[in-house]
C-alpha cells in the first residue's frame, strides 16, 4: 500500500530528530491489567502521516463502539498507537517494545508492505497480526489476517473494464520501485493477457527519490498505448497524473491508478483527472448501506472538521471489527483457534458485511471514475474473491 515517497532521504534527515524524540510509541500514564491491548500501527510521521488523523479517528470510533458492546473477550479494548511512518526497521523495533513491555494481545497494521514484511519477521506469529490496507495478496504467514484488496479484486476488474468499455488493447505499466507495485504488476500482466490485451511498456521510478515524470510521459506519448496502469503512491502518483494531463494525454489515453483515494485525487486536481479510474473496496461516497452508516457515525462523532475519509483509515475501522468478531468466536487468543474461527467469519467492514476466507476477505468492489476531485462509482462488483487462500 502507501509508502511514503522520499522516505530514504527523509530517513537521513529525520534520524537525528526521531532519536531525540525517543520511542515512537504512545503510552498513556495509566495501564490497567484487565484490558485487551492492541498495538496499532498507523502513520504518525513522514508524508504518509497525511493519513494518520483519519486512521486514528476511525480506530477510535470502532474501539468506542466495541467497548460499548462489551469489549473483546469480555475485556475493554485499549489502543496503543505506534508510528509506522518511518523506515520498516524502526517500526519493527516498536513492535518488539509493544510485545515485551506492553504485552499487547493483538497487532493491527495500516502501513506499506515493506513494513508488514519487517513486522512479520519480528513478531514471528507470537502475537496475532491483522494487516488492513490494500496490498499485493499472497500473505499466508501464520497468525496473520489480511483485510485489504488484492490484485484479483482490484486490478482484474479495472483491466476488464478498460478492455471492454474503453476497447483498450495495449497497456503501459508504471509504478514505484518496491514490493507492492512489482508484485501487483506480475498479476496485472496475466489479467491483461486474459483480456486479450498486450503490455507494451513497464517501468518503475525510484522509491523515495525526487521523481519527475516528463521523460516517462514523453515515452508513453510516443508509444501511444490505449491505457496506463499506475502503481505509484502518494506524491509520485499526484506528480505523474498532473504531468500526464499537462502534456495533454488525458484526452486520448485512459488511466487506472491502483492506489487512488480521496486525498491523492485532491492533489491531482480537477483539471487533471479526466479519463482516470480507480477500483477500491471503499470510497467515502460508496453507495453501499454499510458505507453510508459508517460515514454517518463518523461524522456524528467528529463533526464537519473530521479528517477526510478514505480507504486508508476506513481499513482501521474494519480491522477492529474483525478483531472483535475473530477473538469472540475463537474464545481465546490461541493461534490455531483464531485461524479456525476466521474461516467463513462474517464481520462488518466500513463498506458493510464481508466474509473472511483463507485469512483474506472476499468483498464487493467499486469501480469509480473521477469527476473533478470526486469519485463517482460507475460499477459495483459483488463478492469478489481475494484469490489468496491460506490454510486455516
Amino acid at each position: 500500500m502507501h509508502r511514503s515517497p522520499n522516505a530514504a532521504r527523509r530517513r537521513l534527515v529525520v534520524a537525528a530528530g526521531s532519536a531525540a524524540l525517543g520511542a515512537g510509541v504512545w503510552r498513556p500514564a495509566f495501564a490497567q491489567a484487565n484490558e485487551f491491548k492492541i498495538g496499532f500501527f498507523i502513520a504518525l510521521s513522514g508524508p504518509a502521516a497525511l493519513f494518520g488523523p483519519t486512521q486514528r479517528a476511525c480506530a477510535d470510533l470502532a474501539a468506542e463502539r466495541i467497548n460499548k458492546a462489551g469489549g473483546i473477550l469480555g475485556k475493554p479494548v485499549r489502543l496503543i498507537f505506534a508510528d509506522a511512518g518511518g523506515p520498516p526497521a524502526e517500526t519493527a523495533k516498536s513492535a518488539v517494545r509493544l510485545m515485551l513491555e506492553d504485552k499487547v494481545d493483538l497487532f493491527i497494521g495500516s502501513h506499506d508492505s515493506a513494513t508488514r514484511e519487517a513486522n512479520i519477521a519480528t513478531i514471528k506469529a507470537r502475537t496475532p497480526y491483522i494487516y488492513s490496507p490494500v496490498y499485493e495478496g499472497g500473505e499466508c504467514s501464520p497468525n496473520v489476517f489480511c483485510l485489504g484488496e488484492t490484485p484479483p479484486q482490484q486490478a482484474q476488474p479495472a483491466i476488464e473494464f478498460l478492455a471492454k468499455e474503453k476497447k483498450a488493447k495495449t497497456f503501459h505499466l508504471i509504478g514505484d520501485d518496491y514490493v507492492w507495485p512489482r508484485k501487483v504488476n506480475e498479476q496485472v500482466k496475466k489479467f491483461v493477457a486474459a483480456a486479450g490485451g498486450k503490455v507494451v511498456g513497464e517501468e518503475y521510478v525510484p522509491f523515495g527519490a525526487p521523481n519527475k515524470f516528463e521523460e516517462a510521459v514523453t515515452r508513453i506519448k510516443g508509444a501511444r498505448p490505449d491505457a496506463v496502469v499506475a502503481t505509484l503512491v502518494g506524491a509520485d502518483n499526484v506528480n505523474f497524473n498532473r504531468t500526464f494531463a499537462g502534456f495533454g494525454l488525458d484526452k486520448s489515453i485512459a488511466r487506472v491508478s491502483l492506489l487512488l483515494e480521496e486525498n491523492t485525487l485532491l492533489g491531482i486536481g480537477a483539471e487533471n483527472s479526466g479519463n482516470l479510474y480507480s477500483c477500491m473496496g471503499y470510497f467515502a461516497n460508496s453507495p453501499s448501506e454499510g458505507a453510508k452508516a459508517f460515514k454517518a457515525a463518523y461524522l456524528a462523532k467528529y463533526g464537519d472538521k473530521a479528517p477526510q475519509l478514505a480507504t486508508i483509515g476506513a481499513d482501521c475501522y474494519s480491522a477492529l471489527n474483525l478483531a472483535k468478531a475473530l477473538f469472540d468466536k475463537a474464545g481465546s487468543a490461541d493461534a490455531k483457534k483464531l485461524a479456525a474461527a476466521s474461516e467463513g467469519l462474517p464481520f462488518d467492514s466500513a463498506s458493510g458485511r464481508v466474509t473472511m476466507h483463507g485469512r483474506q476477505v472476499d468483498k464487493d468492489m467499486y469501480l469509480a471514475t473521477c469527476k473533478g476531485t470526486q469519485f463517482e462509482v460507475i460499477e459495483t462488483i459483488k463478492g469478489v474473491k481475494s484469490g489468496t487462500a491460506c490454510r486455516a
Binding site: 497525511l50 521510478v205 525510484p206 515524470f213 516528463e214 521523460e215 514523453t218 499526484v238 485532491l266
Partner: protein
Amino acid sequence: MDPASFVAPALNALFGIASLAIVALGLAVVLGLLGVLNLAHGELVMVGAYCAYVAQSQGWPYLAAVPLALALCALLGWSVERWLVRPLYQRPFDTLVLTWGLSLLLRKSAEAIFGLGYKSLTEPIGGTLEVLGTSYPRYRLLLIATAAVVLGALFAWYRRSRTGTRIQAMVGNPDLARALGLPVRRYASATFVAGTCLAGLAGVLIAPLVPVQPFMGLDYILMSFFVLVVGGLGSLAGLSTGSALIGGVNSAVSALSDSTGGYLSVLVIAILFLWLRPRGIHAR
C-alpha cells in the same frame, strides 16, 4: 529518424535544467557568497509554493503570488540572518544545525496552517503549444524562459553593478572590505535575503506543476546541493554548469532507459565529484 522526435526529449532536458537552476539559485547565492549551507532552502521554496496556493485560492491573479512570496521570504530571511545566522558566520557546522532546525520549524508551521494534504494549483497558462512539430505544455515553456531571464539578469547585474563588485569584495576578503569602509554586515544581510527571496520565487514558479505539501522542500534541497557540488560555489557559471550536467544527464538517461537509471547517474556523478573534485567544475 524523424527530427521532431528529438524535440520533446530536448525540451524535457531543457525543462529539467531550467527548473533545477531556478530552484538551486537561492541556495547558490547563500552558500556561494556567505558560506552558509541553508538546509531550510527547500522549505523556503515550499513557503513560496504555499504563497501561490493562497493567492490562487483567494481568487487573486497568479502574479499576485510573486510579491506575497517575496515579502514573506524577505521577512523570514532578514530575521533569520539578523538574529540567528549572524552570530554563527565562520561556524559552518553550527549554521548547518541551525538551518536544519529552521527547516523542521517551517515544515511543521506549514502543517499547522495548511495540514498535510496535497494542495493542487491550476496552471495559470494551461494547454500545450506546438513547437517544431511536437506539442509541449505551455507553462513548462514559460518556466524555461523565466528561468533564463532571471539567471541572465542576475548574472548581468552581478558582473556590471557597483553593488555586485562590492559583494565580490566582501566574499573575497571580508576583513579588508570592512577596512575599506564597505558595510559588510548590510551586504551579508541583503545577500541572505536575496537568497531566500529567490527560493520563494522558485516556489511560486514550480507550484502549479507539483503537489504542494509541507514535505515538498526535501525534494529540492538534495538536487540543489548536487548542482552546487558539481558546478562549484560562488559563480553563476558554476550554477549553470551544475544544473546542465545534473539536469541534463538525469533527463537523458531517464529518457533512454528509465528514471531509476537517471537518478542513479545523478548520484554517481555527485559522489564522483565529492570524491575527486570536491570544489566542483568552476572552483573558485
